[in-house]
């Protein structure tokens, strides 16, 4: 398995664990999070499609499931970007939102 495939999968798993077990924010059990994530992932596909479709960011064959070939869909890619980026984006946004909720719960009674 490729380095980025493993690292991005682990990051998503760690993000869920942080949300549930460390910060106790349990965003992944809320409808609000999944509705927000649905919007985020749509815009991620657009923004990331721009970055990867134009080759602003280029991936090495060795790091990803697919290959260096930039295709819209297939060969381990969705909207030009490696599928690993979906796990990466999920981990980044979930962790940030969970820390945001946690920081709010500590400073404000309602958020």
């Amino acid at each position: 398995m490729s380095a980025y495939t493993i690292a991005s999968g682990l990051a998503a798993l760690i993000a869920v664990c942080a949300d549930l077990l460390v910060l106790h924010t349990a965003l992944v059990r809320s409808r609000t999070w999944w509705m927000a994530y649905g919007i985020v992932v749509f815009f991620q596909l657009l923004a990331n499609g721009w970055l990867t479709g134009r080759g602003i960011v280029r991936y090495s064959d060795a790091a990803i499931m697919g290959s260096e070939r930039i295709v819209f869909f297939g060969d381990g890619r969705v909207a030009y970007a490696p599928v690993e980026d979906l796990a990466f984006g999920f981990a980044l946004v979930l962790t940030s939102c969970a820390v945001w909720a946690w920081a709010g719960a500590r400073t404000l009674p309602t958020s």
């Binding site: 990051a11 609000t32 927000a36 815009f43 134009r54 602003i56 820390v99 945001w100």
Partner: protein
């Protein structure tokens, strides 16, 4: 595309993300921007971890950035835009999350 503008390809995406999410703050009357310390605590420590991962992976050749579509400045192998990415994207995610929360609660309060 003129060569000068081509260098702004990555930065343009980040600017568009901000242009897309900032109206949410006004429309849903969010308090997100009035809590800079909370935003800082939510965005920066997570960004540091992801940036370290990014620097290590880029150094290992897992991915690379097109010099023709980024501005010239690089720090530890990453273009400046990549550092901005880890501030802009989590911020956009938090604003979206807050907007959805506001929309849901607005629907439940008469």
């Amino acid at each position: 595309m003129a060569d000068g503008w081509r260098h702004a390809s990555y930065a343009a995406m980040l600017a568009l993300v901000l242009i897309a999410v900032l109206p949410l703050h006004h429309y849903y009357r969010l308090n997100t921007l009035r809590q800079p310390a909370r935003l800082f605590r939510a965005v920066i420590p997570v960004a540091v971890v992801f940036v370290i991962w990014d620097i290590v992976a880029a150094a290992a050749g897992e991915w690379r950035f097109d010099p023709a579509q980024t501005f010239g400045f690089r720090l530890w192998g990453l273009p400046l835009e990549e550092y901005a990415f880890f501030v802009v994207i989590p911020f956009a995610g938090i604003l979206t999350f807050e907007a959805v929360a506001a929309a849901v609660s607005r629907r439940h309060t008469p």
